[in-house]
């Protein structure tokens, strides 16, 4: 059924359709409405799971650690400072191999205070063992929540689903809300092999010595290694069920492009328009939009690029003392390829600054003209 939904409500409906059993969440701008709608649906009896109104994000994720170890399908949502506050539990939940799904509304980290979109919050959690998905539309937010459960419960690793603060979270878009029966067919109930069971007592998370700990970490590595292909496969399954397909990286008019913009999140939508305008002006422009960041989609990147293609990577995030985070990871991933595309980094829109069609076209021309720097990112500001 078509509905006009803000990104936050698309996230909530995704969780409800996934028949989530336990939600523990704490309000934070700009993710608050995800939690508010869950509370409202719970009060009306239309939300399938239990809702714990916890006193902090640390406790939100700790409660999901408990609920998921008890064998329940779990969900939460947060943003920025809240995600940073959860950090300890993010490692714990992935180490415990719990398929928690969380929505993070991308927002800049303080200081100074800033409420607007920026991916540094989620990207600074890249080493916590969570899969990371970045969405470009509200439809994709709802769909990705459903796919994330399927992927996570197969891998027994948690997933984070990102949408841009305000740009998507508070913007209304038409969303095709799938039928519950179709979702149930796509996503069967979560059936963990091991859970807290008084008939079969055991301890979860007991001290491990270096050798078994090392092997458990390598087991995570092995499962992460198969995650990219699984994401592609689940995206194809989703298309068969719902008519909308998703891969790890979306390629738009990039097959014959000499310079491709590389974006993630809602900028991916703006970038399509920039590419269309550049094409109309006679330029061979393309776009690669990263949906998946963890595991890093190295196979898709290799498949979708050519050695004679230049990449203009636009990062709405920054690792101080280095580069934009997508850019550094793309460079690192291509390093092992003998003939590889040239990669140029651009940092733009930190703290919610607009990344406009004009700015993206300017970035494209910087690379095309050979004026971009292959080592240090160019910091690009919108002219207005």
């Amino acid at each position: 059924m078509k509905k006009v939904l803000m990104g936050n409500h698309a996230a909530t409906l995704g969780a409800a359709l996934a028949r989530v059993q336990v939600v523990a969440a704490y309000p934070i701008t700009p993710a608050t409405q995800i939690v508010e709608l869950i509370a409202e649906m719970s009060a009306k009896g239309t939300f399938p799971g239990k809702f714990l109104r916890v006193e902090s994000e640390h406790s939100a994720m700790a409660a999901l650690l408990g609920a998921a170890t008890a064998g329940a399908r779990t969900f939460t949502a947060t943003s920025s400072q809240g995600l940073a506050y959860m950090h300890e539990l993010l490692h714990w939940v992935s180490g415990a191999r719990l398929p928690v799904v969380m929505v993070d509304v991308n927002r800049a980290l303080a200081a100074p205070w800033n409420l607007w979109t920026d991916q540094t919050d989620s990207l600074s959690q890249r080493d916590t063992g969570w899969l990371q998905f970045y969405c470009a539309t509200n439809q994709e937010v709802l769909d990705t929540v459903l796919m994330a459960y399927k992927v996570s419960e197969n891998l027994l690793l948690p997933s984070m689903v990102m949408l841009d603060g305000f740009t998507l979270s508070h913007v209304y878009e038409p969303v095709d809300v799938p039928d519950q029966k179709a979702v149930d067919a796509f996503l069967p109930p979560f059936k963990p092999a091991a859970f807290l069971d008084v008939k079969n007592p055991g301890a979860f998370g007991s001290l491990e010595t270096p050798k078994p700990y090392f092997r458990l970490r390598r087991r995570i590595a092995v499962d992460m290694d198969r995650a990219e292909a699984l994401v592609e496969q689940v995206g194809a399954d989703f298309e068969r069920s719902f008519g909308r397909g998703y891969g790890a990286v979306e390629s738009y008019r990039s097959q014959d492009a000499d310079v491709s913009l590389v974006c993630s999140g809602a900028v991916g939508s703006t970038a399509k328009q920039a590419v269309d305008e550049l094409r109309a002006e006679g330029h061979a422009a393309g776009l690669l939009r990263f949906r998946l960041f963890r595991p890093f989609p190295a196979a898709a990147l290799k498949r979708l690029t050519r050695p004679d293609m230049k990449l203009a990577v636009v990062d709405r995030n920054y690792s101080p003392g280095h580069q934009g985070i997508f850019c550094e990871e793309i460079k690192a991933s291509l390093y092992a390829t003998e003939r590889r595309p040239e990669v140029y980094g651009f940092v733009a829109g930190l703290g919610g600054g607009d990344i406009t069609v004009e700015l993206l076209k300017e970035i494209w021309h910087e690379v095309k003209a050979g004026t971009a720097d292959p080592v240090s990112p160019l910091w690009m500001e919108e002219a207005r």
Binding site: Q21, K50, A63, A70, G71, W92, L196, P201, E208
Partner: protein, 293 residues
């Protein structure tokens, strides 16, 4: 003679506690009161070690290890998860030390109590961070030496009145216990099991290396804590206050303090101040007992 408490043992021998550990007696009695349909949630504390390393465990009920600050929140989640899967019966107990309760865990504890989560929270209070080697916590009493209150005078701050903080949350059940009174402790856990909502049990748990006394004196000190009035055995069920043991004549606090090396630096005036505090506290407790609220 007929045993006064259950002979069923859910805590196994071979655990990793120090000799004479009060926290093991506490777990032994708690599980006798609760029985096998219990899940224990354990933040970082001495029991993280006592429970044992993989692949073994020293209690015969399911156990979830959790981060230091997370006991009450993780236990809330376990209860919600079990209920969501159709198990409304199993008792869920958070089991934390004083550091994990008075200090780093107090936010999650307050949140869970405020939500009146259907869990038991037991603080086994050995009055310092013992697992990391005796550092001061909010549960350390005034005058006690620790590695972070190393002066002769010991801790300059009094013990935080956590029971009062918990009472302010208006939860259905609060009880105190200590291992010298096993029947009292087992009864309190068994009673807590039958109550719905947030239940808080505070156990004073003597620690030979941390308190610096002979390992043989654990139960003796636990008993002296009650006989001197340093620790009161009471319960508050649905707002009804009841002293479970009201010694006609309390022993002087010195009998409890002197055998403990951690109080070695205590000057006579400091000991007199502790005695005065205990006397004042008992006047209040006796009034409450008489009033029943």
């Amino acid at each position: 003679m007929k045993p006064s408490i259950s002979v069923d043992e859910l805590m196994t021998s071979g655990h990793q506690a120090c000799q004479g550990c009060g926290a093991t007696l506490t777990m032994r009695y708690a599980l006798k009161g609760l029985g096998p349909e219990t899940v224990v949630v354990l933040p970082a504390c001495c029991w993280t070690i006592i429970a044992g390393a993989a692949p073994r465990c020293s209690i015969g009920v399911p156990l979830l290890h959790a981060p230091f600050a997370a006991a009450a929140a993780a236990a809330s989640g376990v209860k919600a998860g079990l209920s969501a899967r159709g198990d409304g019966r199993t008792t869920v107990m958070a089991w934390a030390g004083d550091g994990g309760t008075y200090d780093i865990g107090i936010q999650a504890l307050s949140g869970a109590a405020d939500r009146d989560e259907d869990i038991i929270y037991c603080c086994y209070d050995n009055e310092a961070y013992m697992n990391t080697g005796i550092q001061r916590s909010g549960g350390t009493p005034s005058g006690a030496w620790t590695m972070t209150t190393p002066g002769k005078e010991g801790s300059e701050r009094p013990k935080k009145d956590l029971d009062a903080i918990m009472e302010a949350h208006r939860i259905p059940y609060i009880a105190t216990a200590t291992p010298a009174y096993p029947e009292d402790m087992v009864r309190k856990f068994a009673k807590a099991k039958t109550i719905k909502g947030f239940r808080f049990i505070h156990v004073l748990s003597p620690c030979p290396p941390g308190w610096k006394y002979d390992t043989a004196d654990t139960v003796k000190l636990s008993r002296l804590a009650v006989q001197t009035g340093m620790f009161a055995l009471y319960e508050i069920a649905e707002g009804r206050f009841k002293l479970n043991l009201n010694p006609a004549k309390r022993k002087p606090v010195g009998e409890y303090l002197k055998p403990q090396g951690r109080f070695r630096g205590l000057k006579p005036d400091a000991e007199a101040a502790i005695q005065a505090e205990v006397d004042a506290r008992w006047a209040l407790l006796s009034q409450r007992h008489a009033r029943g609220t």
